[in-house]
Symmetry: C2
Subunit: 340 residues, 2 copies
């Protein structure tokens, strides 16, 4: 059966009240707080239906109702109008970003800003290497057989890596390699580089090939395989708001999940469309986060997306507000990147 308008209205009211009060909401309280225009008994009937459909549930007989994950999902999909940001929030965003000096700075400020505005845990991914282009490669000799490879990307990331050479290399060879590598790779998107690197090796004079091969393998690692993604995290303390109740008694699994970069990347990554994305409870496949929701969004200069950011909180979360904030911050960061 389908849910008529009033039932949806009841669901919305339940979600709103529950998010606000943290307490199971009953029929009487509901009609008192919202202008539903019907009696508690009627609401009870509607609730029975909503429960049957799996949108709400009772913690125990004769307690009020609590939204299920499915209930939140419906709420987010059909019952939410994005809250416009308050002027105060807007100002906060702008103030926060005054005087940024480099990418690290942008990322750190952004993550703190997000945590502060949403009062949740915030995660920001550094611009993904695979979506960036090489701006410049530098080779700095450390000793006769070692050098440091520094890569600067167009998104502002700087990666470095130690290269251990098979034997001593004269300075002019380093210069030559540096020149050739830049010639070949500068301006290329990282995702496109592997074949170019290979070609670079092939085109090298045989006597110098081992050296170049060595550099190439480090390059490939740095460019592609490497723990290529970095993250910043903030607002962990927000998990403790409202006792530990929100996460069924223990923060442990959540804290554990937050320590795994891979997990976090999964959560805020997958940046297909540029829209904001909401994963509620079970929907994110991490077992440890069954009682958590994640609101995430891609960001990047203009229409392209170079990284993800988002927040994580209890399923009992202010979705409209959080979604609006995440979206606004993502857009703002994108603009900021575009300016560089």
């Amino acid at each position: 059966m389908s849910l008529d308008d009033r039932k949806l209205e009841v669901l919305r009211a339940i979600v709103q009240d529950y998010v606000e009060t943290r307490e199971p909401v009953g029929s009487k309280a509901l009609v008192e707080r919202h202008q539903l225009g019907v009696s508690p008994a009627t609401v009870r009937n509607d609730m029975a239906v909503l429960e049957e459909e799996g949108y709400i549930r009772q913690p125990h007989t004769s307690a009020g109702r609590v939204p299920t994950d499915a209930g939140y999902r419906l709420f987010v999909d059909r019952l939410t109008r994005i809250k416009p940001l308050s002027p105060a929030e807007r100002r906060a965003i702008e103030r926060f970003m005054v005087g940024v000096v480099d990418l690290d700075d942008v990322v750190h400020r952004t993550v703190r800003l997000l945590a502060q505005l949403t009062r949740q845990v915030a995660v920001v991914q550094y611009p993904s290497l695979s979506r960036s282009a090489v701006r410049h490669l530098e080779l700095v000799p450390i000793s006769t057989t070692r050098l440091t490879l520094v890569m600067i990307t167009d998104t502002g990331r700087v990666e470095q890596r130690l290269v251990e050479m098979p034997g001593p290399i004269p300075a002019e060879d380093v210069w030559e390699m540096r020149r050739r590598v830049n010639e070949k790779l500068a301006g290329q998107r990282l995702a496109d580089t592997p074949p170019l690197v290979q070609k670079l090796v092939d085109e090298t004079a045989p006597e110098r090939r081992p050296t170049m091969a060595c550099l190439a393998s480090v390059l490939l690692e740095t460019l592609v395989e490497r723990s290529e993604e970095r993250l910043a995290l903030a607002g962990t303390a927000n998990l403790t708001r409202g006792g530990v109740l929100d996460f069924q008694g223990t923060l442990r699994p959540v804290l554990e999940a937050l320590e795994e970069e891979v997990i976090l990347l999964k959560l805020i990554g997958d940046l297909e469309p540029s829209t904001t994305r909401v994963r509620i409870g079970d929907e994110n496949e991490i077992d440890n986060l069954r009682s958590a929701s994640v609101v995430s969004s891609g960001y990047g200069p203009g229409a392209t997306i170079v990284g993800g950011l988002g927040v994580l909180g209890p399923t009992r979360m202010d979705y409209p507000g959080t979604i609006a904030t995440v979206r606004a911050v993502a857009r703002y960061v994108g603009d900021l990147l575009a300016q560089n």
Copy 2:
């Protein structure tokens, strides 16, 4: 009055039992678990004295005794023989460090290792810039008026910073600056650079001086003032071991403190001697960490110290084991750095 040997033995037993069981320990249980050779009544007398001296206290009348901060302090100072690491731990350390590729790698692995071995929150400071020396400075043009300054230190850190020039600069000027900056600064300890940078500006031909001044100011910021210290953190989830009881009911203040780099630096910094340092409860001046202890140590290649690392846990912590682990890891990391 002074405490005789048996009283000290009683204190040690109380600390050990309390750390193990998390429960106030009474006289009877004490004689049963340790070979004290006296009766509970005698132990009670000793306890009365220890309590009067402030080393233990009763949560309430007729409960067992619990060590105070002062009690732990005495325990650490006079009653602890450093536990040698177990072979398993030793192996864990070595296994953990196989195949490190660069500084980031070392730091991240170390922090996880520490968290894992001690089962507490671990913090590792990156080699402090002020204690490092410049190895190489690189200037990479981004546009005609912008360039990226990359600094590589002898401890392996790579810092970058955007430089906004007052006007367009020809490529050869960039080269020239690059050459001069390296000539002047390479090999210098960062702490010694400011006057050199100043001299560099003074020695610049007047027509190029604004540009050089601009670069110099960024250099100074990067070299000195900048958030020069970086940290890695791991093991937050360990805070939840043993319920929330260990931190008087709420993790909030602790989590908040862990988010403040400045606070963490204070905790593991101050690396005067190369010995391991223990701060118990009140001893670390951060209000939020009144119920936490910190075991920290400096590390560095050879005898010099370039950074700090440590762990944070409840005052009720296994001090001998933790101290041994922190010391061993610090030494190991030092050796690792020395190899580069």
